[in-house]
């Protein structure tokens, strides 16, 4: 049986030179993302905005959107979003946060149930009061920053500061682009989105580190090689792995997007964008070329480890 080979052996793309194209592209995309974030804004779900969400199913094609709309408008609850989902008679109702503290939010569910009656199936009811939504938002932001910080510290210990800085710039770029994506497509931004962002962060780093690991190894082994050539070689020799891994992750994520159900749909779509499109691109075209600007040369490691610079050297060159 002939095995599948996506990336041919001995590729030799000049990824480092490509930075003259990829860096401007990334800068442009980041500006687009930031503009989208600032103008369109994120579509905050009730986790962060507070309010009430009901998912209701009308049995046997009894759904009449106009009727639902007029009934809910009669309640005078302020901003109400009504959205038909799927074609199974399901409606998603979002009611904005009510003035009047925690009790006022609780009253909404009772009113909606009262007007829609008991013949419909209440599949999901979520009420988040103003206090909790504030906290969840700050938890989410703190969580993201904490994760970036912990990872930075770990990388700094494990590699050199140049690598830690390079990885965090690359990460920041990932998060900015993903948030821009969520703003442009107005994907629900809720707690699971924070989970998605953190996972994208983890994945993208995972990828970056695989390449950085190789760069470090090459730096130790080929002390005379020019940095650009060395970086290129490192990216090329890990290219097959990068591509194969991304095919498998894409397969897993596509399964989640297509079959995972609506409850995790926005999560899966965000992940698909962040991990597959941004993460891979970043580790190859941004994170590694960045090292040139951060002044990584063979001396970066040599000065630090004068004697035990290459513990594996003996075995490599017998």
């Amino acid at each position: 049986m002939r095995l599948l080979r996506i990336v041919p052996d001995d590729t030799n793309f000049d990824f480092i030179r490509f930075r003259r194209i990829s860096f401007p592209i990334s800068a442009l995309l980041s500006i687009v993302a930031l503009t989208a974030f600032l103008t369109l804004g994120l579509n905050f779900g009730i986790d962060f905005k507070g309010g009430t969400l009901l998912e209701v199913r009308y049995p046997n094609n009894s759904l009449n959107m106009a009727d639902v709309r007029s009934k809910l408008e009669a309640l005078d609850l302020g901003e109400v979003q009504i959205q038909e989902i799927g074609n199974d008679g399901e409606v998603l109702i979002r009611v904005a946060e009510q003035p009047g503290g925690e009790q006022a939010q609780q009253a909404v569910v009772g009113k909606v149930r009262g007007t829609l009656g008991d013949t419909v199936e209440y599949r999901r009811v979520e009420v988040v009061g103003p206090r909790v939504s504030q906290e969840l938002l700050s938890y989410g932001i703190v969580g993201l920053m904490l994760a970036v910080f912990c990872i930075l510290v770990y990388l700094w210990f494990r590699f050199e500061w140049q690598f830690a800085l390079g990885a965090s710039i690359a990460n920041f770029h990932d998060i900015v682009l993903t948030i821009g994506f969520m703003a442009i497509f107005q994907i629900d931004f809720d707690l699971t989105s924070v989970a998605a962002l953190l996972t994208i962060l983890g994945y993208s780093l995972n990828d970056t580190i695989v390449i950085y690991d190789r760069i470090r190894e090459m730096l130790r082994r080929y002390k005379k090689m020019p940095t650009e050539e060395l970086l290129n070689h490192s990216i090329n020799s890990t290219l097959s792995r990068s591509v194969i891994t991304h095919v498998t992750v894409t397969l897993a994520l596509l399964a989640l997007v297509l079959f995972g159900g609506r409850a995790i749909h926005s999560f899966s779509v965000t992940m698909l964008f962040g991990v597959v499109l941004v993460g891979t691109y970043t580790s190859i075209f941004i994170a590694s070329p960045l090292l040139i600007y951060l002044g990584v040369t063979t001396r970066t490691l040599v000065e630090k480890e004068p004697k035990t610079a290459n513990p594996r050297a003996e075995r490599i060159a017998p």
Partner: protein
């Protein structure tokens, strides 16, 4: 890297098998599960988003705790000053403290000493911190008593503990399976009740303070007059729950309070066939109720729940038996719930619902189905791709990943962790990461072989180089998962758990099982070239 001693190999296989088999108790029917010895009775709990149910977060209002504490301090101060016959004026609550003016200058020193004794060390007399829960200060003849913020905090924590007990009693009466009631932070209570169709009854049961009292109705003037003018000292106007609400002028003095009830049961009034709640007092309550009713025959008294008048019957004859009934045109369910509330007792302070998430059983079942389908499709696609890319080594990878998933599930069961829909997504993503560790190893082997090494040497070097990378890259991902677990709640935490466990098992299987299987294959086939 490719040599394993026999015992090491056996230990690796045994560890994988044992951890993987821990999933079995979660899969067998419940009758068989109950027959298992207790150390094996550990299974995966389905999250509320999968099995349906309600998640409710209640909060103790600190301002209510402060208010209750201030009222208590005011009453204590009054008692202390009266007991010592110290003349005072203007005793009352001013903002966040209680103030009193001592009439005579020479009494002020004594009063100050006495009132200072109201401050108690936080955490009881045995506490080592020496902090007091109340601050007493004096300015000339004016003494100010202020609860400290640490004192209020300690009281809030105490109120949460008491409330948890009472809530547990209330929910147990609903007869639902496995409710979970936990403290969340310093002032919140998290309630999870699986399998409820309609949480409104649950919320009604949780949202009521259920402070019951029996008090006399003041009939020196009508409630209307009191509303227009000023209610007489020691009385206040309270309303009934009817529509429109009926006002009553009620004395502040409590004849008997809810704490003196020993039992409450729903039943029917023999004459009117209406649902009522019958109750019994303890000895103390019975005696006080008997005295009060004896002294007030012909006057109406009111039964008050959470500052609402439930009913206000006229005392026709002294009630000496220590039992009675509450009628208030209840439905059967209302009578039932009121009996539950009275049996469980009153909450120390009112609780507010600050977050609620309910998933109906229909949606839960749909989510489970979607999760299973996505897992199967994802796993199959990845498996096919791996075998197509790596042949025999692909089969090794697929096997290792399958064991990996079984181990994740086994560990979840061992920890009694909750599996949520995002948790299933975590498992699917782990499949992606686990495969990556194999890809790293195989690609490295290929590289080493192309660099001119013999097959066995290439495999050996490939493993030793790739494992270092796998460790580095997985630790960073694990940091992200740990942070997620720390800051996340509910479903997000479910994702962090499976993702975190998945990273650990991935590293474990890469270092042991995959290596062992490849080593066994090498010994068996003695390959001349690397088959990938």
């Amino acid at each position: 890297m490719l040599y394993f001693s026999k015992w090491k190999a056996i230990a690796i296989l045994a560890a994988c098998a044992i951890i993987g088999l821990m999933i079995v108790p979660s899969l067998i029917p419940s009758a068989a599960y109950d027959a298992l010895p207790s150390f094996l009775q550990r299974k995966i709990v389905l999250g509320l988003d999968l099995q349906g149910g309600s998640y409710i977060v209640l909060q103790v209002d600190q301002s209510e705790v402060r208010k209750a504490r201030l009222e208590q301090l005011r009453d204590d101060a009054r008692r202390v000053l009266r007991d010592d016959r110290i003349g005072y004026s203007g005793l009352g609550i001013q903002g966040d403290s209680v103030q009193v003016r001592i009439r005579e200058g020479q009494d002020a020193d004594g009063a100050y000493t006495k009132l200072r004794a109201l401050a108690q060390p936080i955490g009881g007399a045995l506490s080592a911190t020496g902090q007091l829960d109340t601050d007493v200060s004096r300015d000339g003849n004016v003494i100010t008593i202020t609860p400290t913020s640490t004192g209020i905090q300690a009281r809030t924590i105490q109120a949460v503990s008491q409330s948890i007990e009472i809530i547990r009693k209330r929910i147990d009466q609903l007869g639902t399976t496995e409710p979970s009631i936990q403290r969340q932070g310093s002032d919140r209570i998290q309630v999870q009740v699986p399998g409820l169709q309609d949480p409104s009854r649950l919320k009604a049961l949780l949202g009521q303070t259920a402070k019951l009292s029996f008090r006399l109705v003041d009939n020196t003037m009508s409630a209307q007059q009191a509303l227009q003018g000023r209610p007489p000292a020691g009385t206040q106007v309270l309303y009934s729950d009817a529509n429109p609400p009926v006002p009553y002028l009620i004395e502040d003095r409590v004849l008997v309070a809810g704490e003196d009830l020993t039992d409450a049961q729903p039943s029917f009034d023999p004459q009117t066939r209406e649902p009522v709640v019958t109750f019994r007092f303890n000895t103390n309550g019975a005696r006080r109720f008997a005295e009060a009713t004896q002294a007030n025959v012909g006057r109406p008294f009111a039964i008050i729940l959470d500052n609402k008048v439930i009913s206000a019957p006229v005392i026709r004859e002294p009630i000496l038996g220590g039992s009675g009934q509450i009628s208030g045109s209840f439905s059967v369910q209302e009578a039932n719930d009121l009996a539950i509330l009275l049996r469980a007792g009153a909450l120390p302070v009112p609780l507010q619902v600050v977050e609620e998430r309910t998933v109906g059983p229909g949606l839960g079942a749909d989510s489970i189905r979607a999760g299973i389908i996505a897992s199967i499709v994802g796993a199959t696609a990845v498996a096919v791709f791996m075998v197509a890319t790596y042949g025999v080594f692909g089969i090794v990878a697929v096997f290792a990943v399958a064991i990996n998933v079984a181990m994740i599930m086994g560990l979840l069961a061992m920890l009694g962790a909750t599996l949520t829909l995002p948790g299933i997504a975590g498992v699917v993503l782990t499949v992606g990461i686990a495969v990556d560790s194999n890809v790293l190893i195989y690609e490295r082997i290929r590289e080493e072989a192309r660099a001119g090494r013999s097959a066995i040497s290439a495999i050996d070097a490939g493993f030793s180089r790739a494992l270092a990378t796998i460790l580095d890259s997985n630790i960073t991902t694990f940091i992200a998962a740990a942070v997620l677990f720390y800051v996340g709640s509910g479903p997000v935490r479910g994702f962090a758990i499976t993702f975190g466990i998945g990273i650990m098992t991935t590293v474990f299987t890469a270092f042991t099982l995959t290596r062992l299987m490849v080593a066994m294959w090498v010994r068996w086939r003695r390959p001349q070239h690397v088959p990938i």
